[in-house]
């Protein structure tokens, strides 16, 4: 028989024949600051910082601001002298603009592969199958150039055979931007080992501070050291999640792209414009936050089982009495009805509210999310099926006639709560009256 002469392909050869899958992590560089620069190109080489809601603290920094030593989360009032001294251009967060620019980036990415996982407002995992590794770098550079051209947003792209490694490749692309010009493809075993020996254990994707500390106590300082631990130990100490991560770092894919809706929790939290202690005001805020969580849940077609509510005083006013409490309420059934959420959130608030404090911040976080349609039927459920329809109508009305036109009784109907946004840029890309002005 003629095929006797053929040798059986080795394992290595068979692996090579298997269609190679590659993961790319695309990360927008200093995303919010970059968005501001698109519509104000004279800020290109200038320091740009963006503040959180209510202009509380720094949440985005251009490289120049990072170099000036302004840390992430720096309180704006404390750093005001630094902003002035170094002529830092400071903006309030303009989520209408950032959200729209994010969509443009994500949509541009989806032209290159159907497999896109939007990981956050400024990050996406892409999956590619059947590409030749060596030509792949050119392709990735083309992705970067296209995003830049379409949107003006600079991105860094890291490519590797697994998601966890692509995260590291991205770090390398960004950290050594002069050499990589923003694109790094991890293609050899040598590159993988070098990267793992370079990366601190604290910076490994998915390893939290507690695990990092425990690992460091065991003399695991680099990602490489982690991959040298016995599988059994990792599984025992860090569960199957940790073991999966170890395999990923070894180059065996164990994580696939996830559905966008698979968020673990949804939060609506805000600092107030000033301090309040009046129950009715706090109650109104907490109701509104719960309603906002409901809108977000319904948008991604999930329901929650737990509602976490917290209240805190102004931690920058140590001269005032400090108080910070949170509590969790379990719902009787999975729900995304704003009516239910408000009821539980108020129940939680009543457990933690004390009239003697001046509150500066509150928040509602909904957890234990599950898809809308996987609900178990219960004969004795008190769930009101009419809520679903009512919510649909309210969402529709708010979508067509404008945000927050239809409100609930527990929300303040007269008052307009405004975020402090003293340095807000225009909604250049989403509101026609605020588009760029072109002088001719």
């Amino acid at each position: 028989m003629y095929n006797k002469e053929k040798s059986v392909p080795s394992l290595l050869e068979r692996l090579r024949e298997r269609p190679m899958e590659l993961f790319a992590l695309v990360d927008c560089n200093n995303f919010y600051a970059s968005c501001e620069r698109v519509f104000n190109p004279s800020l290109r080489d200038k320091p740009v910082a963006v503040l959180s809601n209510n202009d509380g603290c720094v949440i985005a920094r251009s490289n120049e601001v990072k170099a000036l030593g302004v840390p992430m989360g720096a309180p704006a009032f404390k750093y005001q002298p630094v902003f002035e001294k170094h002529h830092i251009h400071v903006f309030s967060s303009n989520y209408a603009l950032y959200g729209d620019m994010s969509q443009r980036v994500m949509n541009t990415l989806s032209q290159f592969t159907p497999d896109v996982e939007i990981y956050s407002i400024d990050e996406a995992f892409l999956k590619f199958s059947g590409f030749d590794y060596y030509k792949f770098e050119d392709y990735v550079r083309k992705i970067k150039a296209t995003v830049d051209k379409n949107t003006g947003i600079p991105v860094s792209i890291g490519v590797a055979p697994t998601k966890a490694l692509s995260k590291i490749a991205n770090k390398i692309a960004k950290k050594f931007a002069e050499r990589t010009s923003g694109v790094y493809v991890m293609q050899t075993e040598e590159q993988r080992l070098k990267a793992l020996k370079w990366l601190d254990i604290d910076d490994v994707w998915g390893i939290g501070r507690q695990h990092a500390n425990r690992l460091k106590a065991k003399k695991v300082f680099k990602a490489f050291d982690f991959t040298q631990l016995p599988d059994d130990w990792v599984r025992k100490q860090m569960s199957v999640v940790g073991l999966r991560l170890k395999k990923e770092l070894e180059g065996q894919p164990t994580l696939d792209l996830e559905d966008v809706a698979n968020k673990k929790a949804i939060a609506t939290t805000r600092s107030f414009d000033k301090q309040y202690s009046d129950y009715s005001i706090i109650r109104e805020r907490v109701s509104s936050f719960a309603i906002s969580c409901g809108e977000k849940l319904r948008r991604q077609k999930t329901q929650c089982r737990l509602i976490h509510v917290f209240l805190r005083t102004n931690k920058f006013r140590q001269d005032l009495a400090q108080y910070h409490r949170s509590t969790v309420v379990k719902t009787e059934y999975p729900t995304n009805s704003s009516i239910d959420l408000v009821k539980y959130a108020i129940k939680a608030l009543d457990r933690i509210y004390k009239p003697e404090y001046q509150y500066k911040k509150a928040g509602v976080i909904v957890m234990e999310l599950q898809p809308e349609n996987t609900e178990q039927l219960s004969l004795f459920s008190k769930k009101n099926p009419k809520h679903h329809q009512l919510m649909q109508h309210i969402d529709h009305l708010n979508k067509t006639i404008g945000r927050h036109k239809v409100k609930f009784g527990s929300q303040d109907l007269g008052r307009v709560w405004k975020m402090r946004q003293e340095r807000l840029s225009q909604r250049y890309s989403t509101t026609i009256s605020e588009s760029i002005v072109v002088r001719v």
Binding site: P41, R104, N150, V438, V440
Partner: protein, 145 residues
């Protein structure tokens, strides 16, 4: 005044009897089919007509009169496509020395000119001293008449 509805007679529908009809699985053709039926879904969508690359398209408001010859008047709305390559003769939104402007691009052998379309203004040669980028290419202009 004459009641215009007075000539219309109303009949009560009869609900209470039924007739069995043969089922035609190819659909029933009654009379001449309207040739428009095939096109019912089509209507003019200006977004589709005017915007080829929605993810790269932005808007800009015209202020000034240096481009009136090209039909760009004060107050007009520009549709700007950032994904298009700027070419000689195209009208582009540029960012020059801290301001957005719109001009026709003229490429010489080794220089780039911003050409106004109004005799009151002079062409501008872009030099290395200018802070300059071509921000996007103008594909359409919307004006209120």
């Amino acid at each position: 005044m004459q009641n215009v509805f007075s000539t219309i007679q109303l009949y009560q529908p009869r609900y209470h009897f039924s007739v069995a009809l043969p089922l035609a699985d190819q659909g029933i053709s009654a009379g001449f089919p309207s040739p428009a039926d095939d096109f019912l879904d089509l209507s003019i969508d200006l977004n589709k007509e005017l915007i080829k690359h929605p993810y790269a398209t932005f808007y800009g408001r015209v202020r000034g009169d240096s481009m009136t010859g090209a039909g760009l008047d004060d107050g007009d709305l520009l549709i700007i496509d950032k994904s298009l390559e700027p070419q000689d003769g195209k009208i582009a939104v540029c960012f020059i020395d801290g301001e957005f402007t719109v001009k026709r691009i003229k490429l010489d052998k080794d220089s780039l000119w911003l050409m106004p379309e109004n005799k009151k203004y002079k062409p501008l040669k872009v030099t290395e001293d200018n802070e300059f980028i071509i921000w996007g290419v103008v594909t359409s202009v919307i004006k209120n008449m």
